[in-house]
Amino acid sequence: MKFETPATTNPIDQLKHIGKPTPRIDGPQKTTGTAPYAYERHDRAPDAAYGYVVGATIAKGRITGIDASRARAAPGVLAVVTAQNAGKLGKGEKNTARLLAGPEVEHYHQAVAVVVAETFEQARAAAGLLRVDYAPAKGAFDLAAAKGSAESPKDPPDSHVGDFDKAFATAPVKLDATYTTPDQSHAMMEPHASTAAWEDGAVTIWTANQMIDWGRSDMAATLGIPKAKVRLVSPFIGGGFGGKLFLRADALLAALGAKAAGRPVKVALTRPMMFNNTTHRPATIQRIRIGATRDGKITAIGHETWSGDLPGGGAETAAEQTKLLYAGANRLTATKLAVLDLPEGNAMRAPGEAPGLMALEIAIDEMAEKLGLDPIEFRIRNDTQVDPAKPERPFSQRQLVECLRQGADRFGWKDRNATPGRRREGRWLVGMGVAAAFRNNLTMKSGARMRLQPDGLVVVETDMTDIGTGSYTIIAQTAAETLGVPLKQVVVRLGDSSFPVSAGSGGQWGGNSSTAGVYAACMKLREVAAGKLGLDPQKAEFVDGRVRVGNDSRPLIEAARDGELVAEDFIEFGDLAKKYQQSTFGGHFVEVGVDAWTAEVRVRRMLAVCAAGRILNPTSARSQVIGAMTMGTGAALMEELVVDKRRGFFANHDLAGYEVPVHADIPHQEVVFLDEVDPVSSPMKAKGVGELGICGVGAAVANAVYNATGVRVRDYPITLDKLLDGMPAVA
C-alpha cells in the first residue's frame, strides 16, 4: 500500500479498539516470567555454553600480543576467540568502530576476546587469565579542546535563512549564550545479550535488538556470509533507548563463540562493560544566539552545535529543531564534528532534539526574562504554523500553543513568581519551569503478514520489535479494528527476521509506521477473505467477526474453511513529508524544590501536555511519556558519563557511578494528550510520541531551578556543586 495522499475515512476511524486504553497483551507473560529474553533461550538452545567478553584496557593503540594459553587451559573452557583466530571479519554499515578489536584498538573496552566455557563462572574466571599486551597511542578525548578542529559533517548541512548576522547585530534585545550537555548512557535494564547457534552454515541469533533487519544485514556483512544465512530473533527486549539499534559485540561474539565451540553460546555484556563497549549519546557544546524586537518578536535565531565521535562517525544533530520550532526571518543552524577517540557516539533517547532542546529551551527562558515577558507568552508570540524557511510548507498539525495554554492552566502556572528565589517552603526554595517539547515525526516503510486460521485466530507476523513500548498491543488493536474481530482473537508475533521487514523501533517512528504496515496487510487480507466468500472487497464491511455487503453477511472464519488464508503487504510513504512538515509538540511543566542549605534539587511534580496525532493506546502512550519524562529528569539533574581525559574512557562505568533517577526522585507525573488526528502522517492518523516525552524536560527542570534559586546553570547535569556558590543566603 502506498500512502501518497492524506488519509480519508477508513476502518481505523471506527475506534472500537484503537484509541481505547488497553492493557498490554504481553503483560501476563512478563509478569509471570514466561516472556523469553535473549539470554534465557533454554527453550531453543538448552545446551548453550557461556561467553564472557574481554574489553580493551587502553583507549587507542595496538594489541602487540595475546597470550590465551592459561585461559584455554582453565577448567571448562571451550574456546577463546580473538581477532587472531576469528577469521576475516567485515564491518557493519551502521557500526563506526569494529566490534572485535585487533590489532588496532579504537576505544576503551572495545572487545578483544570472548572466552567460552561450560559455565558463566568458568568463562569469567578464565577471562581473567587472558593476557593482552598493548602499545598505547595518544588520543583526543576532550571535546572542548578538540572544538577548534571540528569540521562540518556530511549530515546535516548548515542552514541559512535571511541575513542572520545583520539581524542579530541590530536586534534591540539579544542573547548569546553557550550551553553544554555531557556524554550519556542508555542504561537500559536488560544488558546487551545474545544466544547464537549454527546449523548447516547458517546462524540463528536470539538477541535484544530494536532493528531486526539492520542487525541481520550487519551481522551478514561482518561475518561475510549471505544475509539468507542469518536469522535474528528478538521477541522481547528489556529496554533499548537507541542502545540496541545496531549489531553490537554481544551478538557478533556469540556467533563467533558458537562457531568456535561447535555448540550454542550465549553472551551478555556485564554492566561495567556496557558504558564503554557500546554506544552512548555524545556530549555537546551549543552556542545559541537570539535577537528580538522589544515586543518579543524573534528577528534572528542561530544555533551552532559541536560534538565528537570516532573517525567516520556522525554528529549529534542538536541544532535541527531550531530550524522549525520558532518563527523569525533570519536564521542560522550549524553542526560541527570533531574527532574523539572515546567510545562510539550514536543515537540515544531522541537524538538531536533531546540535547538540542536542553539548550534552546533555556535560551528561550533567558530571552523571555530579558524581554520582561512570561516565557509561555514569549513562545506564543513566536509560534509559526509553517516551516520558517519555506513558508509554503505548513505543519500538518501544530498545537504547541494549545499545549502550553492547557498546561499552564492545569499546572497552576499563574502562581509562579516571575522573580526568582522568592518562594520558600520550610527549607526548600520552590520554582516552576516550562519548556516546549518538539520532535519530528518520521515515517518508515513497514511490512506485515496476516494469517486467518481455520480456528478463527488472526495471526500477525512482522519483524517489528517491542522494546517495552507496547508494540504488541497496538498491533493487535490495529488488526482487531481493521478485521472486525475481538482483540483476544489476535495473535501477534514480533521480532523475527523470517517475518516481513518492518519499520523497527527507533526515532519514535515505530508505533505509527508499524501499525500502518499491519493495516496495509489487513486490508490485503480483507480482499483475499472477501474474494474467498464471493463478496465485493470494495464494499465489504468487517464487523463483529462477520463480513457484510448489504444484507449478505457471513462469518469471517468461513473464509478459512478450506485452509489458512495468508496476506502480506507493506506501507510505503510518498512525498507528503516534503509537502507538509510533520512534527509532534508538547509543553513540559516542572516544579522543583531546591534545598536552601545544600542546593540539592528535588523534582516535586511534572506535567506534560502532548499533541502527537491520534493516540493509539492511551495506556501505553502514557507509560512511554512518563518514562521519557523520568529520563529527561535524569539528564537534567544527574546523568553524566565522566570522561577521564588522560586515559580516554568513561570513568563512572557502573550504575553506582552513573546515576539515573530512582523512584524517590519522581514523586508525581501527569500526562495529557490533546485530541488530534493527523491524516497526513499515515492511515492510522497517528504520530510518534515516545521520544516527544523527553524533549524539553531537561530545560523545564533547569528553568524551574533558576526560578527557585536565581542561579542559571548552562552546563548539564545541574548538580548541587554548580549551584552552591550562587545560592541565596540562608535565612
Partner: protein, 316 residues
C-alpha cells in the same frame, strides 16, 4: 571470580584462627560488598570463612547503660530496634539513609564498618590503584575525583569510606570488640578503628590478620537532638557527597561527624566546643588542612552548609 575454598566457622575464635591459618582468607557475612568485589576480581580470596551461623546477632543492654550490638545484627534489624530508635536516633537514621531495603536485610553491623571504598578506579581492575594493587599508583589523583576525599588523604590515595552507619557510630563514640586468632579479645574505640591511607592505603583498619569483629558497643545514651543528614545527587540509593551525623544538646553544644569526605568517618572533637557559634566556626576547624581537588572543593562549602542545616533543624 577465582575459585576458593569455603568453611563454616563454629565459634568466633575458631573463625579467627581459620582466617589466620589460610593466607588470603576472608570472613564472609552478608556478602553485600565482598561478593561483588570477588566477581570483579578486586578481591580474590583463596578461602572464605563463613561467620553467619555464629551467634553474634543479638542486641543487648550493657552494664553501664549502653547497648552491645552483635557483629551479625543486620542493618535492617539494628535500624528498627526500639532502643536504638529511642536513644540513638542518629544511628537508626544513618542506617536507613544507606543502600536499599534488600541490601540492609543482608548487610551486617561488622560488614558495614568494613565496606571498601566506592572510588571508580578501585572498581576498574584495568586502572592503577594503590588500594587494590599496592604500588601501582593512584588514578583518581588528577582523574575523576568529584566523589572522593577532601581531607586526610595522601599522595597514595584519595578514597573515601562509603558507610553511613560508621559516621553515626563515630559521633556516638562506639567501641569495636574483636577476637584474635589466639582467642584474646580487645576493644577498639571507633576513632582508632579506621586508618588514614598514608603510605599503605590497602590497609584500612587496625585489625590484625584473622582478627574478627564480634560486637560494637554504644556507651550510655547521650540524649540531645540526633540528626543524620545525607547529601547526594539523587534522593535515594546513592553514596553521600557529604553527610553529617550530629547530636545537638539543648544548650547548643554537641558533637558532629562527617561522612563522604575522608578515608574514615571524620570527626574533630576539639572543634565541637565551637558549635554554639554556628556551623562555620566548627567546620573551619574540622576541615583545617583539607586538601581538596578542583572537582571536589565544593564539599568544603557543602559540609559547612549541611552542618548549618542540621543545627537549624536541631534547634527547631
Amino acid at each position: 571470580m577465582r575459585t576458593f575454598t569455603y568453611e563454616r566457622a563454629k565459634s568466633p575464635a575458631e573463625a579467627a584462627a581459620a582466617v589466620a591459618r589460610n593466607p588470603g582468607a576472608r570472613f564472609i557475612a552478608g556478602g553485600t560488598n565482598l561478593l561483588d568485589l570477588m566477581k570483579l576480581e578486586i578481591e580474590t580470596p583463596a578461602h572464605l570463612v563463613d561467620v553467619n551461623r555464629l551467634e553474634l546477632d543479638r542486641i543487648e543492654a550493657t552494664k553501664d547503660g549502653g547497648l552491645r550490638i552483635g557483629a551479625l545484627v543486620r542493618n535492617t534489624d539494628l535500624a528498627a530496634d526500639k532502643r536504638v530508635r529511642k536513644d540513638y536516633g542518629v544511628l537508626s537514621r544513618a542506617l536507613l539513609a544507606g543502600a536499599s531495603g534488600q541490601l540492609r536485610n543482608k548487610a551486617t553491623t561488622a560488614g558495614n564498618l568494613l565496606q571498601r571504598t566506592r572510588c571508580p578506579y578501585f572498581y576498574d581492575t584495568a586502572q592503577p590503584c594503590n588500594k587494590r594493587t599496592p604500588g601501582s599508583g593512584c588514578s583518581a589523583i588528577g582523574g575523576f575525583s568529584r566523589p572522593l576525599a577532601v581531607i586526610g588523604s595522601s599522595d597514595q590515595c584519595i578514597a573515601t569510606h562509603p558507610s553511613d552507619m560508621a559516621v553515626a557510630m563515630r559521633v556516638l563514640d562506639a567501641v569495636v570488640e574483636t577476637v584474635r586468632p589466639n582467642g584474646e579479645t580487645r576493644a577498639i574505640p571507633i576513632a582508632d578503628f579506621h586508618r588514614l591511607p598514608e603510605k599503605t592505603p590497602a590497609v584500612e583498619t587496625v585489625l590484625a590478620p584473622g582478627e574478627l569483629i564480634t560486637a560494637v558497643t554504644l556507651p550510655a545514651p547521650v540524649g540531645g537532638k540526633q540528626v543524620y543528614r545525607k547529601v547526594r545527587d539523587r534522593a535515594s540509593y546513592a553514596f553521600a557527597l557529604v553527610s553529617v551525623a550530629a547530636v545537638v544538646q539543648p544548650d547548643g553544644g554537641g558533637r558532629a561527624a562527617f561522612g563522604g569526605v575522608a578515608h574514615r568517618p571524620w570527626r574533630v572533637e576539639a572543634a565541637e566546643a565551637a558549635m554554639p557559634r554556628g556551623a562555620k566556626a566548627v567546620t573551619d576547624q574540622v576541615f583545617a588542612g583539607a586538601r581538596p581537588t578542583e572537582q571536589n572543593a565544593f564539599k568544603l562549602v557543602l559540609a559547612e552548609r549541611t552542618l548549618g542545616s542540621v543545627l537549624a533543624e536541631a534547634r527547631g
